[in-house]
Amino acid sequence: MELIQNLGLGFATAFSVANLAYCLIGVFLGTAIGVLPGLGPVATIAMLLPVTFGLSPETALIMLAGIFYGAQYGGSTTAILVNLPGESSSVVTAIDGYQMARQGHAGKALATAAIGSFIAGTVATVVIALIAPALAEVALAFGPREYFSLMVLGLVASVVLASGSLLHAVGMIVLGLLLGLIGTDVNSGVMRYTFGRDEMADGISFVVVAMGMFGIGEILSNLESEASRSILARKVEGLMPTRADLRRIMAPVARGTGIGSLLGILPGGGAMLASFAAYALEKKVSRTPERFGHGAIEGVAGPESANNAAAQTSFIPMLTLGIPSNPTMALMIGAMIMQGIQPGPGVISDQPALFWGLIVSMWIGNVMLLVLNLPLIGLWVRMIGIPYHFLYPCIIFFCVIGVFSINNATFDIWLMALFGVAGYILRKLDCEPAPLLLGFVLGPMLEEHLRRAMLISKGDPTGFLTSPISATLLALAVALLISILLPAIRSKREEAFQEED
């Protein structure tokens, strides 16, 4: 009963004219910056922070939150249409989404992403309302040991991202891990592999690698075969998913929502880990895993639901403990402090209108996004029909602006060009960029947590096995590793036998 009362207060707050208007502004802005590659929600929210001083706390947070989850929606559009993941959470969406677009199912992929995101957003909103206070304690139970084991599980699972050779995938993950080592070592403060350049002291930005490998690399290899590409683009059809499609995506959406809601609570890479854990799961449970990487609709539905659910539930530690689970949430905490609200466990009881209003506004925002985005799909899809020699200068233009806007540094543009050439060469060698990006993101976290765990345990590694959470995660990783390796070994042996015949 209390829940209904609380939600009632939330609806009353969220449905005020000002709050509805700012929610719409937020999601609209969010979608726009999500579609433009490289321009992320962090920079946008930071720039808009001073504007929010004049608003009431509820209105300010509703708008800023709208930008954040609106960007998750918009980001998948670029990932699907031009194979450009602007955010780490849309890397896996690009894998099958872009293949669907190439086969003329761009509309279906976009609609799947929008519908999946909407369902996930709705469920995650209910999850927050129901169990936010209790769930927040879970995040505190995760220390360096538990995070390390989670990263190990993540790295093992990232092998399933490969649609081709297992060896190539492992190679790309390792290359990603090595690239992730560039920058200042957290423990000693020593700069590693920076060639003495301060520009590399903080490591290479994710956006630089993603834009270079996916964006520029893709353009280079497309230019080589422009003729074949225009033929593909001409047969765009089937904007909306059919009833059969909808039936096929329901289970992946449900699974993705579950994974996303759970992983979103954990600080650090929640949405990204969630999206690709969902992809790994879909590929594992599918009866036809070979379709993944070649335009499987489940490969879009699962991860897109997962990253949107995670984006919503990442508000839980922020609202209940004042702990930011990602840079955007850190900015939201800053916005609350400037409004005179101390983030922490007191927020729910001291500011019920803010807490419940924000939650209800997230659901309203999701409805708005669906209404905004579904009619626009036709427009987005027509973008693919544009002859490539008109389209690619625009993509490069936006890539350059996006990369420059992160640090205002021209050095990053040169670095992106370098990764573009590397991406082209690797593509020629049948090496996919997605596993590399995952290694690149997970590697530094893996190292950081491992070394921190060892520092805290004074060099005693048994802690990884005596912590129940850590032990469970490691056991899962071993089981997954065996299940990946066994079929690979078996099929190798079968191949060998066939050759003997």
């Binding site: 962090v42 920079a43 929210i45 930071a46 720039m47 922070l49 001073p50 995040a139 505190l140 139970a141 995760f142 220390g143 360096p144 200042t184 070592d185 957290v186 423990n187 000693s188 403060g189 020593v190 700069m191 003495g196 301060d198 520009e199 002291a201 903080d202 600080p267 650090g268 403990l321 004042g322 702990i323 930011p324 840079p327 850190a330 900015l331 800053g334 402090i337 400037m338 005179g340 101390q342 983030p343 922490g344 466990p345 007191g346 640090n407 205002n408 540094a409 950081e448 921190r452 520092l455 805290i456 004074k458």
Partner: protein
């Protein structure tokens, strides 16, 4: 031909004679760029934006904030150090950029003492000595006793190697002749989270950042590094009261211009900034973030920064924490 040369020479003389005084009188004749060498949304960014916004009205020109993050502010600071000292390029940065980088790195491309003219120390906040709940230590005395009884067992979380809170811990060990295990994190947030989760034992964190966790019993506060007690926590002693003399440590933010900025321009900027900082609205806003406004004059600011660099150089040297290149 001759005419042309005469005209050109005349122009050059006139221009040369005018350039100096006119520049200072007409200042500001165009928008001023404020470099913030950290990403948008951080403390330096907020201090820079809010202060210059308030200063703009009487200043007559707009002040545009440009973020140039990287290497704890070193990239942005080096670019300002290389800029023309004409008052059109300024910098807002932290203790890390102005006070600790020069102590920590020998390959730095700027030296605040030689390449920058400080304008004012804008704000400061003391560090608080906090422990995880349930560590079983109620006072600094008990903490020192525990560290002496079991050397190198307690873990000290910091927001990074060479951060102000790391060096405060180092200074604490040196002053109390104890030692602990330094566990660096990427920023204060994750360090505080692990302290609350009981994964790390002790930390020196900015008072403003942890005040609420202490009120809610998620951390225990033993002392603060200010010169007097905080009105919010009248029962918590200062390190000075407890006999730790050199442990008055603040995390601060400051404004600076390139070295050689004309004195009139420097004075005008310093006046504008300090007036903005002292205005009730700005002071209140920074108060909410846990910062107290300092707003001293350029001479005091120069002396303060030089003293900070000397102090941290000694801590880095005694603690042997210079990263090997």
């Amino acid at each position: 031909m001759n005419k042309f040369i005469t005209a050109a020479a005349g122009f050059a003389v006139a221009f040369g004679a005018l350039a100096g005084p006119v520049m200072a009188q007409d200042y500001p004749a165009k928008p001023v760029t404020l470099i913030v060498p950290f990403p948008p949304g951080g403390a330096s960014d907020t201090i820079g934006r809010v202060t210059t916004q308030a200063m703009q009205e009487g200043f007559g020109q707009s002040i545009v904030v440009e973020n140039k993050p990287g290497a704890n502010g070193a990239i942005g600071a080096a670019s300002v150090a290389r800029s023309a000292p004409d008052g059109y390029t300024l910098i807002a940065a932290s203790i890390g950029t102005f006070g600790i980088n020069p102590a920590l790195r020998s390959d730095l491309e700027y030296d605040p003492r030689k390449d920058l003219d400080m304008l004012t120390i804008a704000v400061r906040t003391p560090n608080a000595l906090v422990t995880r709940p349930g560590l079983g230590v109620k006072t600094v005395e008990e903490l020192v006793a525990k560290l002496k009884a079991e050397p190198d067992t307690l873990t000290f979380a910091s927001s990074g190697t060479g951060s102000s809170d790391h060096l405060t811990a180092e200074l604490f060990w040196q002053t109390s002749q104890t030692s602990g295990i330094h566990v660096p994190y990427k920023g204060g947030g994750p360090a505080q989270t692990d302290l609350m989760g009981g994964h790390a034992d002790v930390s020196f964190q900015n008072l403003g950042n942890i005040a609420n966790y202490v009120r809610e019993g998620k951390m225990e506060m033993l002392a603060i590094t200010a010169d007097q007690r905080s009105p919010d926590f009248p029962d918590v002693p200062t390190m000075k009261e407890l006999g730790f003399d050199g442990l008055e440590v603040y995390s601060w933010q400051a404004f600076a211009a390139p070295k050689g900025t004309p004195p009139e321009i420097r004075a005008k900027l310093a006046e504008g900034l300090t007036a903005a900082l002292k205005s009730p609205a700005v002071t209140e806003q920074f108060g909410k973030m846990g910062f107290a406004v300092v707003a001293n004059d350029p001479t005091e600011a120069d002396a303060f920064v030089a003293a900070e660099i000397d102090r941290w150089s000694k801590v880095v040297k005694d603690g042997d924490i210079k990263p090997e290149q």
